[in-house]
């Protein structure tokens, strides 16, 4: 495996999340397969993806997407291939080529 390898990931946005991403409901993107941490490198996790999205895809106001702990801000639910990310290991889930990651902002209106 080379360090330049990347994974094809489908990002989806719902519940108003899309407003932060150019009003796109779906973004097909390539994410680096490995991330560096000091001298080490590790396979890309959702934690890496969130930080990568904040710096590469987000146009403005990152605080509406990313929280101070590097996770998504409170009120956003993340799905990995159609299931609650909690079932998949949350932030530590290692992305696979072809994964579909959904970001849902909870709605409160009625």
């Amino acid at each position: 495996m080379t360090m330049s390898e990347s994974l094809a990931i489908e990002l989806q946005f719902s519940g108003g999340m899309e407003l932060l991403f150019d009003n796109k409901k779906t973004i097909h993107t390539k994410v680096p397969a490995h991330f560096r941490q000091g001298a080490d490198s590790h396979a890309v996790t959702i934690r890496d993806l969130i930080g990568w999205m904040a710096s590469h895809l987000l146009k403005e106001r990152p605080e509406l997407f990313i929280g101070p702990d590097g996770s998504v801000r409170s009120g956003i639910l993340v799905l990995v291939n159609g299931a609650d990310w909690e079932l998949e290991g949350e932030l530590e889930y290692e992305l696979q080529d072809g994964d579909e990651i959904v970001f849902i902002s909870t709605l409160h209106g009625g």
């Binding site: 519940g15 009120g75 609650d84 849902i104 709605l107 409160h108 209106g109 009625g110």
Partner: protein, 452 residues
């Protein structure tokens, strides 16, 4: 020729008579409906908790059998499910966009007792989605109006009106006196309150929400599934929460979610699909897949509310916890001292004296398209800091140091806009915003200016 034209005139008159007769008939029906409403209104009583328990029955009456026949002959429903429904009580919190359809369908389906909580009153801007109310009931309590609609639909349903703001001082005894709770509210604070009260009272919570073209549906605290706090331990930052009045909502969207909530409450009451894992259903009106159901985590052992060692054992102050009020009304902001702002009357004087100035309208374009004051420049607040926006303002000022007045819908967004332009130093003239925005302009200066 003459014969022909008089013949036409007669036909025309006959057509008018027919129209007037139809209108007369419609008005007569309306009068009759209003009379019926009045007689029913006396029968709808407010009730304070605790309620006397719902009286259970062992069989349906003949008139109930006749009414619910189409459900009774359903193999997957039948007389037993109908009896379960008749012997159960459901509390719907919120008689707004979600509650409108939910309450009507629950009432129509044959729920034994239906409690309705709401402290708001009916306003015409609600009626595009809150179809349980109507034009004649403007200003009436929503809880009363909703209960009245149910009584007119199905007199067998025992409706209970809770015309109050639910908070930690009154919620528990009310929730404890029902079997199932439906969250049809419109704000974060009440959502956490209902979650905690339902966990403490051991009640399933059928939660729905809607905004713009999207809706969400989840059942919390039910058969080993998560509670609201398992999914969302901390409330969202207040600036990320949008209400229907600011974000907009297509009327039918909360109607669809409310129907789904009624369906889920009926399924719980009649013990249908008891094997299903916890899920969240997402509705998106303009997606190719309008509905999507996702699998949710189970109850979290470490949840501070429903976990193995909960640290919250009674209701807390939810307004404080969420940093937002228990309504969906947009509060007035005061970022700038009042004396540094312009009143509607002040701006009227500026118009009357033809004082040169630039009027900047910082609402979103979609709102600007509805109505605007003459010769105003529209740059939405979120774009105001962009270099091309500042350039646009400078161009309109044309190097003249004229004052800039900023207006928006309610006088909230105009305040940060003042700060942005001050920092850019675009004029030596005044930079002020108009207190209360265009809403107050309609109220105080020009009643013919549209208000939305």
């Amino acid at each position: 020729m003459k014969d022909n034209s008089s013949h036409h005139a007669a036909e025309e008159l006959l057509r008018k008579v027919a129209l007037l007769e139809a209108e007369n008939e419609a008005l007569q029906r309306q009068v009759q409906a209003l009379r019926q409403e009045q007689s029913q209104q006396a029968a709808v009583k407010s009730s304070a908790a605790p309620l006397h328990p719902l009286e259970k029955v062992a069989r349906l009456t003949n008139s109930e059998i006749a009414r619910y026949g189409r459900q009774l002959i359903l193999p997957d429903f039948g007389i037993h499910a109908q009896l379960d429904l008749r012997n159960s009580s459901v509390l719907v919190v919120g008689a707004g966009g979600l509650g409108a359809s939910c309450i009507l369908y629950l009432g129509g389906a044959g729920v034994g007792r239906l409690g309705i909580v709401d402290h708001d009153t009916v306003d015409t801007s609600n009626l595009h989605r809150q179809v349980i109310h109507n034009e004649a009931r403007q200003g009436m309590s929503k809880a009363h109006s909703a209960a009245l609609s149910v009584r007119l639909l199905n007199p067998h349903c025992n409706t209970v009106v809770h015309d109050l703001v639910l908070d930690s001082s009154n919620a528990q005894p009310i929730i404890d006196s029902y079997d199932i709770v439906v969250d049809a509210t419109d704000n974060v604070a009440t959502r956490y309150l209902l979650n905690d009260a339902c966990v403490l009272g051991g009640k399933p919570l059928v939660s729905g929400s809607a905004l713009r073209l999207d809706g969400q549906l989840t059942i919390y605290n039910y058969r080993g599934g998560p509670c609201y706090r398992c999914l969302f331990p901390t409330p969202p930052p207040a600036e990320t929460v949008t209400n229907c009045s600011d974000g907009g909502v297509l009327g039918v969207v909360p109607g669809i979610v409310g129907c789904l909530q009624a369906l889920e409450a009926i399924k719980i009451a009649t013990k249908m699909n008891t094997q299903d894992p916890p899920t969240m259903t997402l509705f998106s009106a303009n997606s190719t897949t309008m509905f999507r159901t996702i699998k949710l985590r189970k109850r979290k052992a470490e949840c501070i509310m429903c976990g193995d060692a909960p640290t919250i054992t009674r209701l807390i102050d939810y307004v404080k916890f969420c940093g937002s009020s228990a309504t969906d009304k947009t509060p007035d902001l005061f970022l700038i001292p009042l004396q540094e702002r312009l009143t509607c009357e002040g701006y009227k004087k500026i118009l009357e004296t033809h004082t040169p100035h630039l009027l900047l309208d910082v609402r979103e374009k979609v709102q600007f398209d509805i109505c605007s004051l003459p010769s105003s420049l529209n740059i939405p607040l979120k774009d105001l800091e962009l270099p091309e926006s500042i350039e646009q303002v400078k161009k309109r000022l044309n190097a003249k140091d004229e004052p800039v007045y900023i207006v928006c819908r309610r006088g909230n967004d105009s305040q940060p806009a003042v700060r942005i332009l001050q920092e850019q130093g675009i004029t030596t003239g005044d930079i002020k915003d108009i207190v209360g925005g265009l809403n107050l302009w309609t109220d105080k200066i020009d009643p013919s200016f549209p208000k939305y």
